[in-house]
Structure formats: structure tokens, C-alpha cells
Amino acid sequence: MSSSRGTGRQYWVAIRAMIVLTIVVGVIYPLVITGVGQLAFAAQANGSLVKVNGTTVGSSLIGQSFTDAKGNAIATWFQSRPSAAGKGYDSGASSGSNYGPENPTLITSIADRKKAIESLDGVTASQIPADALTTSASGLDPQISPAYALLQVNAVAKARGLDPSKVKALVESKIQGRDLGYLGEPTVNVLQLNIALAEMSK
């Protein structure tokens, strides 16, 4: 009897403890962090939005596709990696492909992507880096490898009627090195590169 009363008491304590903890770490804590974020780090806290002429055109952290409605690459833009988020770069449905290393669909896709890039960028298959042939983990990868960006220079320059050496210089200026020199990989942010490209084309 005393044991069951003890157990009942433990549950009454547990209910009150959960209410108190919910208020402290489930309401006050996130609101304080929101306050700090909005006051001290407003740009980051709201999604690192990128504006062109005062209009928001995306986020520097969330990748975009530079394709037409059918999903075909638009030759005048640098292309992002393939994406498994929705129909491609659907930021409401982040996702990787989750295809395993022997998955036949993935093996076919890689072969198809190779052919598409060969014809789009006028390069040979052996020049294409791995990130151009694979989908990212998030499906929203905002970046590509410098190798893939440089690979696209000639085709983009041709489509826009620009001097390839100038486009190449632009890409090189947009290469971001490793954090602190040793963390992560060198990258090129595709949205920022394309915005600079549009600026240059004016």
C-alpha cells in the first residue's frame, strides 16, 4: 500500500517537474535565444538572405537549381549539383537520394549525368569531378567544388558571349578556401557566383 502511494506521489512530482522544465527549457530558453539572434545576429538568424537591388532572391546557404521548368540546365547559368530534394532543390523537402553504392538507379543516373555534362560543357567524362555526378546529403547544397565551377566556364561564357578568361577570373575570385585553412573543402557558392555573373554581363 505504502509502495503504491509512493509510486503515485512520484507521478505527481513528475507531472509538475515536466511542466516546470517545459516552461524553462521549452519556452523561455528558445525565446531568449530568438531574442539574442534577432538583436545580435539578425542576418544569420533570418536565413542569410541574399538581395539583388533590394529584392530577396534566395539564401546564401540554401542551394537553388538553375534549370528551366522541365529541369533542363539553362546554359547561361552555372549549374548546382544534382539534387534529390523533391523535384530538385525543393527547400520544403530536404532530402538525399539514399541510394546505396550498388543501387542500379544511382549507377544509371551517374552515367546519364556524365553524358549531359559532356554535351552541355563540352568536356570529357574523365574531367568531371564527383560532386557534379552525385546528389548531396541535403538536396540543398549551396556549393560546388572549384573543379566543377571551372569546368563550366567555357560553356557559360559562350552562352553569354563573354570572354572565357574573364569568367574564369570571376570563378577564381569566388572560390572559398577551407575554414581556418584546414576544415572542410574549398567551395564555390553557386548563387553568389551567378549573381556576380549577371552583374558582369550587364
Partner: protein, 557 residues
């Protein structure tokens, strides 16, 4: 070049965790041993009706753990079921019963397995005031149970093992909350979002539209890593640029995951009055961690398998900014700490690289394991190791001055059998029941063949060991997997806790026997080797056959 980058990154981790080891470990020891209560804590004890000076016997301590967990499950279940009435739910409907059941257990057990895609399932209130609260509470529960077991070694002839409510509140208020606040602010600076904006619709430079998500992410991300929870605010977890924007936030997240589990051996050493014992546990954890990290990194750089070879590298399911090294460092840390966050899709790893992720969990999450659960897990295996050594020399085994008799060995044995049983029975039933097997093959498996089997094995391994990561191609939002994984997570969490607390009670009741010439020293390299051997032996013997059916068969063919 990658060799040196690897060395530099590992050296960074060793340096920072090394600098944290003593101050954080000793601070935690003080938190759980001092008699002084903060003013805010005294207020909380009054509100919840607890006398902080009254200690509990192990059965009462256990009942308190179970009570707060049961209430937690009910609250998280209820919030999901009533989501449409909650503010900031983004117009999302109530979460279905089976999924709510699975998710409630998942977050209360510190697993954070997610059968759902958060963007289209969970509004801000459920995530912030339901799921993230459990990120704190389940972590504090884990540390409390570990501390109770350490008290079992530290106390003499004691009928009690501390007061759970005091341990829970102190762990939350003095350890997890302050560290989370600091971590969340660092993450904000790095680009993790924190707002209540919902989806912002913008027109891109190609004229297409994009919906940029919002949410209180930084506050949740901090405790997700620090409490080794791992539940992502977004579907792709720490691969999402809003959860993990840069390579430096990536290594920061890794440090958060490892900080408490690697400092707890110090807490243990300090509390039992022999800091060398803490170093021995630390060395064991560290050795296994490094070995596993090297193995996974080598397999991923090697990039074997048809698709990685065709692509010229194992970059499927990996982010450009992290590369292979940033991905394996995170994946190792996450699977060997019971965090289960992912910054790359383990399903797309090479067969053997993904196999290492599974082995990390199969080791029992002890190197360093989850917050608290890693320490009590490895102490139980240490008991087994001492026992094996005792058998070899024919002496009554003792660990830290406590005799390991029949009762202690029964509890330790039940402890190490519980999780493997759940994992293997769960996986086996998924294929043995014809109707379930048909459903698994038709609905759940994403990849065909051996890899599909690995997805199911990974799921039960992750659930049983309360990790929460996945071979995420698996569709787990089915009646069978929601129920079976829910049960496996629940038992995988609370059976070991029952045995650990029973052990704590029985050890605390003993007097301490003085060490003699025949006592096995448990702070020397010999014992570290024995402990590593025992951890590997126990898991290898249990899991080798089933690994041979999945990742080994796929990787070696």
C-alpha cells in the same frame, strides 16, 4: 594532403576535449555531490514537491526515472495529437497515432529516431516545447543514472543512491542549459537560423520560386548535439545548411556531441576518489573512437562500390562544404556517441563505411557513448572484464573495492544481453513473419538486395542502442516499424537502466574491501587492453553473423 588534414582535425578534437576534460568533469562531479542548492533550484523543489535532502533507495530512484519518462511520453504524444490547436503549427494537422507513439518514445529515450520528415509533419511548438524539452530531460536522465551507478562504487554501506529529482534538475539547470545557451549563440553566429517566420517565398534570379524555411533551430541544435540526442529540425538533419552551415560549425557540433561523454570519466574518477580510474576509462573510449574513425575514413576515401567508382569518389549523399573527411568525422562521432545526427546520408556510404557506422552502435554506445548512458554502459562492461580476469586467475573479482558476486554478475550479464536481443529479434521478426516481410520488402526497403537488408538491420541497431541515425532510405512510417522500433527503443533504454540502477543499489550497500596483492589493478594499460577486448568480444560474437548478411556481404563481394 588528406592525411595531414585528418591529423590536424583529430588534433583539434583531442586538444579541445583534453582542455575540457578536467574542468568539465570536475564541475559535473561538484554538481552531483554538493549539498548546496541554488535559489532557483530551491524554488523548483518547492513547486514540484521534492525535499532535496532526502535520498532515495534504488527502487525509488528507478520509479522516479520511469515516472518522469512515462509522463514525458504522454506529453509528447499528446502535443503531436493536438498539433492543429497549437500555435506556430504552420497549418500542419495532428500527427497520426502510430507515428506519434514512435516519436514520443524516440525523444524520451534519447534516441531521436525520426520516422517522419519534420518540414511536413512537425510545427514549431511541437519541436520546441515538446521534442526539444525531451532533448534536455532525456540527457539529464542519462547523466543521473550514470551518476547513481558511480555513487554505487563511491558510497559504503549505503541504502540510498541519491535523489533523482535533484540530479535531474541540477543536470538541466547547471550543466545542460548554460552550455546550450553558449552553444546556441555560437551557432547563431555561424549562420544557424532562429526565427518564427514560417516559409518565406522568394523569386530567384532565374524567375523560379523558392520557399525558404524558418524555425527556432539554433536553440534546438545546441541541445540536440550536447545531449547526444540527434533529432533534426529538418529532414536531412545536420546536412541541412540551416542546421550546419559551415565546416567550422560542423566541427563545433562534433565537439558538442563529444564534450560531456568524454568528460564523464573524469567525473567518475573524481567521485570514486581515484582519478586514474577515470583516465583508464577515457583511454579505452578514446582508443576505440580513433580506431573506428580511421576505419570509416579509409573506407570512404577508398570509395569502393560500383556507384562511387563511376562517380570518381564517394560523394553521393555528402555535402560539398564538408567533403569526405568532414562527413566521416561527424558520422563516427554521431554513431559512436548515440547522438544519431547525420551530416551525410549513411545509406549512400560505401558498404564497409556504412558497416562501421553500424559497428559503432553495436559496440553498445560506450566509446564514449551517449551522455551518461556511455559511462554506465562502459562501467558495466568493466565489471564483465574484471570478472573474466577473475576467472582466469581464480579469485573473487572486485572493482573499485566492491566485490562482484553472483547478484552483480547476473545484473551485468542481463545488461549486456538486453540490447543485442532486442536488435536481433526485431530484425529477425521483420523477415520471419511473412506478412511483415512482404510489407518490409514492398514498402519500407528503398535499396534492393543486401543493402535493403542493411537498412532494416541498421534501423533496429539504431533503435535498440538509442542512437537514432538511419539508413534513411528506409520508409519507417509503417505500422510494423513504428510499433516494433518504438518497443525496441523503449526496452533498449529502460531495461539497461533497470539493471544499472539495481547494480548501483547492490554496490552501494557493500562496504569497500581494501585492495590486496591479488587485486587486479584497473587503471593500468593491461586493464585498458582487457576492457577494449571485452567490448569488442561481446559485440563481435553477438553481431558478426548478422553483419555478414548485410554490409560485409555487400562490401566484400
Amino acid at each position: 594532403m588528406y592525411f595531414w588534414l585528418f591529423i590536424a582535425q583529430v588534433a583539434t578534437l583531442v586538444l579541445i576535449l583534453g582542455l575540457l576534460y578536467r574542468p568539465l568533469g570536475d564541475y559535473m562531479a561538484t554538481v552531483y555531490t554538493t549539498r548546496k542548492n541554488l535559489k532557483v533550484e530551491r524554488g523548483i523543489y518547492r513547486l514540484i514537491g521534492v525535499n532535496p535532502d532526502s535520498d532515495q533507495t534504488w527502487p525509488v530512484y528507478l520509479r522516479s526515472v520511469l515516472a518522469v519518462s512515462a509522463i514525458g511520453i504522454l506529453i509528447v504524444y499528446g502535443m503531436q495529437r493536438l498539433q492543429q490547436f497549437l500555435p506556430y503549427s504552420l497549418g500542419l494537422p495532428a500527427v497520426p497515432e502510430g507515428l506519434s507513439f514512435n516519436t514520443a518514445i524516440s525523444f524520451v529515450t534519447n534516441t531521436n529516431w525520426q520516422s517522419y520528415s519534420p518540414e511536413v509533419t512537425m510545427g514549431y511548438t511541437v519541436q520546441m516545447a515538446g521534442l526539444a524539452v525531451q532533448n534536455f530531460v532525456s540527457a539529464a536522465v542519462g547523466i543521473a543514472v550514470a551518476i547513481a551507478l558511480v555513487r554505487g562504487f563511491a558510497l559504503r554501506k549505503s541504502g540510498t543512491i541519491g535523489n533523482f529529482w535533484v540530479d535531474l534538475i541540477r543536470g538541466t539547470i547547471r550543466i545542460l542549459l548554460p552550455l546550450s545557451i553558449i552553444a546556441a549563440i555560437v551557432l547563431l553566429a555561424g549562420g544557424v537560423i532562429q526565427n518564427f517566420n514560417g516559409f518565406q517565398h522568394v523569386t530567384t534570379i532565374t524567375g523560379a520560386t523558392q520557399s525558404i524555411p524558418g524555425g527556432p533551430v539554433a536553440s534546438q541544435e545546441a541541445i540536440k548535439q550536447l545531449g547526444t540526442n540527434g533529432g533534426g529540425f529538418f529532414n536531412v538533419n545536420s546536412a541541412h545548411p540551416f542546421e550546419n552551415p559551415t565546416p567550422w560549425t560542423n566541427i563545433f557540433a562534433i565537439i558538442l556531441m563529444l564534450a560531456i561523454p568524454f568528460a564523464l570519466p573524469r567525473t567518475f574518477g573524481t567521485m570514486v576518489g581515484d582519478k586514474r580510474q577515470g583516465y583508464a576509462i577515457l583511454a579505452t573510449m578514446g582508443t576505440l573512437f580513433i580506431a573506428s574513425l580511421v576505419a570509416m575514413t579509409l573506407f570512404e576515401f577508398d570509395g569502393s562500390g560500383t556507384a562511387p567508382i563511376a562517380a570518381g569518389g564517394a560523394m553521393e549523399g555528402k555535402e560539398t562544404r564538408f567533403g569526405i573527411l568532414g562527413s566521416t568525422l561527424f558520422a563516427t562521432s554521431s554513431t559512436i556517441t548515440s547522438t544519431g545526427a547525420v551530416n551525410s546520408m549513411h545509406d549512400s556510404y560505401t558498404a564497409l563505411g556504412g558497416g562501421v557506422a553500424m559497428i559503432n552502435m553495436m559496440l553498445g554506445e560506450v566509446a564514449p557513448g551517449g551522455v551518461g548512458s556511455g559511462l554506465y554502459g562502459i562501467l558495466v562492461i568493466a565489471i564483465i572484464a574484471v570478472f573474466i580476469a577473475g576467472l582466469m586467475v581464480g579469485r573473487t573479482p572486485e572493482y573499485l573495492g566492491k566485490k562482484l558476486g553472483a547478484r552483480e554478475m547476473k545484473l551485468a550479464s542481463l545488461y549486456i544481453l538486453a540490447t543485442p536481443t532486442l536488435v536481433l529479434v526485431g530484425t529477425a521478426l521483420s523477415f520471419a513473419i511473412p506478412a511483415v516481410r512482404a510489407d518490409i520488402e514492398k514498402t519500407s526497403m528503398w535499396n534492393p538486395g543486401l543493402h535493403g537488408f542493411s537498412e532494416v538491420l541498421y534501423a533496429f541497431t539504431s533503435a535498440g542502442n538509442n542512437n537514432g541515425s538511419a539508413f534513411a532510405g528506409l520508409t519507417a512510417n509503417t505500422p510494423w516499424l513504428n510499433s516494433a522500433l518504438g518497443v525496441v527503443m523503449f526496452l533498449g533504454r529502460f531495461l539497461p537502466i533497470v539493471f544499472a540502477l539495481a547494480l548501483a543499489g547492490s554496490l552501494a550497500a557493500q562496504d569497500r574491501v581494501p585492495a590486496t596483492a591479488g587485486t587486479l589493478p584497473t587503471h593500468k594499460p593491461q586493464f585498458i587492453g582487457l576492457l577494449i577486448g571485452t567490448i569488442i568480444l561481446v559485440s563481435a560474437l553477438t553481431y558478426f553473423p548478422v553483419l555478414a548478411l548485410g554490409p560485409l556481404a555487400e562490401g566484400l563481394r
